[in-house]
């Protein structure tokens, strides 16, 4: 195929709506390479460099010469609105097929078959979906001339964000015949990732690598262990930041809580997380684009592909797990070249959070063994819900485990219709080797970020070097550094904020499916179930968390401060009906801990206390039970009601930590059966959710 440079330039100008636009360095080279079919190409360029111009124009030039359409695989389809508009201006017929436009699939497929689409955009999840491959992808794949793989670093095992679905892309491109064009793009690839990609994409791989330095950024790191300190710092410093920006948190809960705190300090910010629906997110993105908010307090859900060139700052409330993801996130600031801040705050809880991500990233040996053994027992295979009954794992873990196993090739288990089945290939040792390697890598990355936190200067050099770029390209920061102290008065206020309000406990309304128990099946009758309750705090959180932890695991008694706080919470909560007596969950392991606390709380609330429940036998701690059926079975028959201690009125049912809620559910059921009034659960901490 011929590269028509005039047409390419004309397309660029139409797409950018800039009659004098010219190609960046390498952009036209990349287009030419792809159009002429000179082998696989890897583009490593900063976000905002204009990778989409390369593939849209290349796709168009190929079409102009009678070739088939291009297929683009990207995890960021939802965030490609701007690029799609540009494509539209270039007269590139682009269509997406993703989970949110299912009703349009047939139409898109039809248009593909009629040769009426120039570039089709799909997500890696689609590509890995069996049904979609068979029904949609395979029929239209017969004419595809170019595959574009966005975020290609995910293809590499060494990539910082391992996405299981990319494993299939990796294997697919390995099988590409030489006459199929391939363009891989990424913003970040260190030398190990590059080596891996070279391996996968073929030795003829050509790489066009941009430089990594972001001269407009002033980087800084501040260690402040307590959440309240960072909250205070943000409340004070945010107004001084140039323009508008992003505050990144590691968890959804932190995003919401931090946004609420900053709002309470009269700052115009909004939370932005992955659990919000698309339209809401789009609204918030728009608000940030047009500077209607000072900042979005966001998780990584506000991520790759979001492009606001004049973003004035990116502040991290906690340290992310790797240099690559940090570089990507902080790199969103100052793209227009105007000075911007990139401030990383570091707190004590971040290591726990990133540890959790690392430890839960892959199934354990035991979980895999459970799945495979369950399937071995059933020659005809098991549906997901049948499988769930056979294994002691929660649904999310189970789905993750089966998915990862099925992504091996040859796969040790596969889904045939609705049933999971064993295949004639046993699980390869390389599965565990890869997990081990990836886990080690994550630990090293986490460590590297802690090194970054401790830097007092040379931040940009550090990042560039960590990404295997040339640190000499870094320039001196353009802005004065930000004050590093938190205002103690504000910190005190933040501490109060964290302790306020408690956490709702929603009652269980259904017995677990397939318990195999005649009494405990289907819906729990309203007259037998608990009312909504309250927990003082979330387990492992700031606020009251440390005090609860200390009481349970060190002092062996919960402090008066906690009793006061709970009493306070009950007053604020003012449940209806009002409790008329108090009871507590029994334990044989710590027979005094909870009753002691419950008694003191009852006194403080002026309620009579009754030891209405007994533990009849030991059972494994509830937290070792991973799914509802196992948890519920674990508590049935181990608790007994003491009828003479049960009173008629509504009862405040006290426990220290609630997790699966099955113990509370069971206790409420027993108390209601014994003639108690409504049951109002109250715990010190909520470890569930």
């Amino acid at each position: 195929m011929q590269f028509n440079s005039n047409l390419a330039l004309a397309l660029l100008r139409r797409g950018t709506q800039n009659a004098s636009a010219t190609f960046h360095e390498d952009q036209d080279k990349a287009i030419q390479h792809v159009v002429e079919g000179n082998g696989p190409l890897l583009l490593v360029q900063k976000t905002g460099w204009g990778k989409s111009n390369v593939y849209f124009i290349a796709a168009k030039l190929l079409r102009e010469q009678g070739s088939g359409p291009t297929l683009l695989v990207s995890p960021l389809l939802a965030l490609m609105r701007n690029q799609l508009e540009a494509a539209h201006r270039m007269d590139v017929r682009a269509e997406t097929i993703n989970s949110s436009n299912r009703q349009e699939w047939d139409e898109v497929v039809h248009r593909m078959m009629c040769d009426d689409v120039d570039i089709l955009l799909i997500s890696p999840e689609r590509l890995a979906n069996e049904d979609f491959r068979e029904r949609v992808l395979l029929p239209i794949a017969g004419r595809i001339v170019l595959l574009v793989v966005d975020e290609a670093h995910c293809i590499s095992d060494w990539g910082h964000d391992f996405r299981p679905d990319y494993r299939r892309i990796e294997r697919l491109v390995r099988l590409f015949p030489p006459n199929l064009r391939l363009l891989a793009t990424t913003a970040t690839a260190n030398s190990r990732v590059m080596e891996d990609l070279q391996n996968t994409l073929g030795c003829g791989l050509r790489v066009l690598h941009g430089d990594l330095s972001r001269p407009s950024l002033t980087l800084q790191t501040i260690a402040m262990p307590k959440p309240a300190q960072r909250m205070a710092w943000l409340a004070e410093r945010l107004p001084e930041m140039p323009g508008s920006g992003i505050v990144y948190t590691l968890t959804i809960r932190d995003a919401h809580r931090l946004a609420a705190w900053l709002n309470s300090q009269h700052l115009n910010v909004s939370a932005y997380t992955g659990d919000m629906d698309n339209s809401e997110r789009q609204c918030l993105e728009e608000a940030l684009l047009s500077n209607q908010v000072k900042a979005l307090v966001a998780t990584v859900a506000l991520g790759m592909g979001y492009d606001k060139p004049d973003l004035g700052f990116v502040i991290h409330y906690q340290t992310p797990g790797s240099v690559v993801s940090y570089y990507q996130q902080v790199g969103r600031a100052g793209r227009d070249g105007n000075p911007a801040y990139g401030v990383l705050l570091s707190g004590w809880e971040e290591t726990d959070i990133t540890d959790f991500f690392i430890n839960s990233a892959f199934p354990s040996q035991d979980e895999v063994r459970q799945v495979i053994e369950a399937l071995e027992r059933e020659p005809k295979g098991l549906s997901m819900s049948e499988l769930a009954r056979e294994v002691n794992m929660n649904n999310k873990r189970l789905q993750q485990t089966t998915k990862l196993l099925a992504l091996e090739s040859p796969a040790p288990i596969l889904k045939q219709g609705s049933k999971w089945q064993l295949t004639p290939t046993p699980l390869s040792e390389s599965f565990w080797q890869r997990i081990e390697r990836l886990t080690e890598l994550r630990r090293a990355e986490q460590q590297q970020m802690q090194e970054y936190v401790s830097l007092s200067s040379g931040h940009m050099e550090f990042l560039i070097a960590a990404l295997d770029g040339d640190p000499r390209t870094a320039t001196l920061p353009g802005l004065p550094s930000v004050r590093t102290e938190a205002n103690p008065r504000l910190a005190q206020e933040a501490e109060q904020f964290l302790r306020k309000g408690g956490v709702d406990i929603q009652p269980r309304k259904q017995w677990p499916p397939s318990m195999g128990h005649p009494l405990f099946k289907g819906t729990i009758r309203e007259a037998s179930r608990a009312n909504p309750g309250k927990a003082l705090c979330r387990w492992g959180d700031g606020g009251w968390g440390p005090l609860v932890d200390h009481g349970k695991y060190q002092a062996g008694q919960f402090s008066d401060e906690l009793v006061q706080a709970c009493a306070q919470l009950v007053w604020e909560w003012a449940p209806s009906p009002c409790p008329e007596w108090a009871a507590c969950i029994p334990s044989r392991r710590h027979p005094e801990l909870v009753p002691d606390f419950a008694r003191r709380l009852a006194v403080s609330l002026g309620l009579p206390f009754g030891l209405a429940l007994l533990k009849t036998q030991d059972h494994p701690p509830q937290k070792t039970m991973a799914n509802s059926a196992h948890q519920c079975r674990n508590v049935i028959d181990t608790m007994q009601v003491v009828p003479e201690n049960v009173r008629v009125g509504p009862v405040l049912l006290v426990d220290d930590i609630v997790d699966s809620r099955w113990t509370l559910t069971m206790a409420a059921w027993l108390l209601r059966q014994a003639g108690s009034g409504e049951v109002l659960p109250m715990t010190l901490a909520d470890a569930g959710g």
């Binding site: 595959l147 294997r171 040859p410």
Partner: protein
């Protein structure tokens, strides 16, 4: 997992159905015959199918342009993404695919079946079993329990003797033999006619596959469902992968077992075919014996069993003469192997011509009987030559000759069997025989089902079709050397007059040149040179 070879990838693109059912691909994919011609054309350009994927592909396609439909080839070669998706899926299912060019491809198939060996073979399990030979066991699907028990025991005996069982994986005899062998820890090869992907996932097969004791293979797409022609077409592979074959039960004149066995005895002759002698007598087995099948000595001990199979394989260590020497049938066109030299082996060329003519005659006669004269007229061939072809077909049991008037017609049982190669050449989704919409009249254009990629002058008539076949063969024959009419006639085992009749138009078309004193013909090579340079 072996890495997929570039050649296999190219072949997949050109011939393999990749969409379930393959409907949308019918007419696009190359038929085995078309593929063979393409390979031959490429050979003449010093190239191979994999070069169609390389950097010189467009020059090659230009050079092929006058003989092949460019657009169709382009569309086939654009299926790279489809092929990659399919391959990736097969790999997940533990299924591998190999082509004739791969070292894992069983030599037995190439050796026994020549150009009829499937260009692609899909398999799961231990590929070493493909070259181990063993005993092929075939038989009907519907049999009584006694016969099933007999077959099961036979499988166990084979296992004890260390002899691989090769069978077709169908209900009845096939499965009994395979299960008997597997249960006794023996090695088993299943040559499936359909649903390889599903069979691979059946739990019963899992242990044997994991222990390298079972190989499941098929020449058809792993997702392909049951079709009668596929079952027929894979029969020859069962025989070709074994050292000897035993027919346990068969109908007479109909059914897959019958036609597979008869085809083996009369046409392919890869291995000695035995028939069961113990137990209740069977008219089908008797009829097979009439055709030339042997009687199974019904061994009861390991030693005897081993001796029978070993001697059939020509492996007898004591130096005894084998009972049967498999007749080597090195075909004319084995993909990459290069055209057979006509001066070293005469028969493959004659066989290939005979095979192609057979196809043609069976298609021509499928609806109504005709006299030799009428057939000769229709084909515009020498009556004497036509007589000789017809005689061959009658001997093979494919045609029946009636007297007063003397008419030839397709043998009723053979219609299914005989039509299988037609179905193979025409499309992947067709039932046996031509569809009702297709006119039986000889001169009707058949391109609706047999899309020609070859721009031959007059392939719309039966005569034209015959000429196409003959010319194709002749051009290949002349590819490497100049030949006299006599040499050609001997190589093809046809009359010299017939040869001359075929050669003249080729000279007129400028494809051959004729030299006199001595009189010989040779390939006109000027076109190729302009094409490549």
């Amino acid at each position: 997992m072996v890495d997929i070879s570039l050649t296999t990838q190219a072949i997949l693109m050109l011939v393999a159905p990749l969409l379930a059912g393959g409907r949308t691909e019918a007419g696009l994919l190359l038929t085995p015959k078309e593929y063979t011609r393409l390979v031959q054309a490429l050979q003449q350009l010093d190239s191979r199918p994999s070069d169609l994927l390389g950097s010189e592909a467009s020059e090659l396609l230009d050079a092929l342009a006058c003989d092949f439909d460019q657009e169709r080839l382009d569309r086939l070669l654009a299926r790279g993404m489809q092929v990659s998706l399919a391959l990736e899926q097969w790999q997940r299912l533990s299924i591998q695919v190999i082509s004739r060019a791969d070292s894992l491809y069983p030599r037995r198939l190439k050796k026994s079946l020549g150009y009829r060996s499937p260009s692609l073979l899909y398999f799961c399990g231990n590929p070493a079993l493909l070259n181990k030979g063993g005993l092929a066991v075939v038989g009907s699907r519907q049999v009584d329990t006694d016969l099933l028990a007999y077959t099961h025991d036979l499988g166990a005996l084979a296992a004890a003797a260390g002899c691989t069982i090769v069978s077709g994986g169908a209900r009845g005899i096939d499965q009994a033999s395979m299960q008997g062998a597997a249960a006794a820890g023996g090695k088993v090869v299943g040559v499936l006619a359909h649903d390889l992907a599903r069979t691979v996932m059946q739990r019963d097969n899992r242990n044997a596959l994991m222990n390298h004791e079972l190989l499941l293979c098929s020449p058809f797409d792993p997702a392909a469902g049951f079709k009668a022609w596929q079952a027929m077409d894979r029969n020859k592979l069962i025989y070709a992968l074994a050292d000897a074959a035993l027919v346990v039960q068969s109908d007479v004149g109909k059914g897959g077992t019958w036609s597979g066995a008869r085809e083996q005895i009369r046409k392919f002759r890869c291995v000695p075919v035995y028939t069961r002698t113990a137990g209740p007598s069977s008219p089908g087995l008797a009829a097979l014996r009439d055709l030339g099948a042997g009687s199974w000595p019904e061994p009861h001990d390991v030693e005897t069993f081993r001796t029978i199979v070993d001697s059939a394989a020509g492996r007898d260590s004591s130096g005894k003469v084998p009972i049967h020497t498999p007749k080597p049938r090195d075909g004319a066109a084995q993909g990459q192997a290069g055209p057979t030299q006509p001066d070293t082996a005469g028969s493959p060329w004659a066989d290939e011509l005979q095979g192609r003519v057979e196809d043609l005659l069976l298609r021509l006669l499928v609806y109504e009987p005709a006299s030799a004269r009428a057939i000769a007229d229709c084909l515009q061939a020498r009556p004497h030559q036509v007589q000789s072809w017809l005689k061959h077909l009658v001997e093979a049991g494919k045609l029946t000759k009636s007297t007063r008037p003397v008419l030839y017609q397709v043998t009723s049982g053979a219609r299914e069997a005989g039509s299988s190669p037609i179905a193979v050449t025409k499309g992947r989704d067709k039932p046996n025989g031509p569809s009702p919409s297709q006119s039986p009249l000889p001169n009707v254009h058949m391109s609706n089902i047999d899309t020609p990629i070859f721009h031959k002058p007059d392939s719309t008539t039966w005569a034209g079709k015959l000429r196409c076949e003959a010319e194709d063969l002749l051009l290949r024959l002349f590819a490497r050397q100049a030949l006299t009419v006599k040499a050609v006639a001997e190589t093809l085992q046809v009359s010299q007059i017939q040869v001359e009749q075929w050669l003249e138009p080729l000279v007129a078309a400028g494809k051959l040149t004729k030299a006199s004193r001595p009189l010989y013909y040779q390939r006109n090579t000027s076109k190729q040179q302009t094409g490549l340079l």
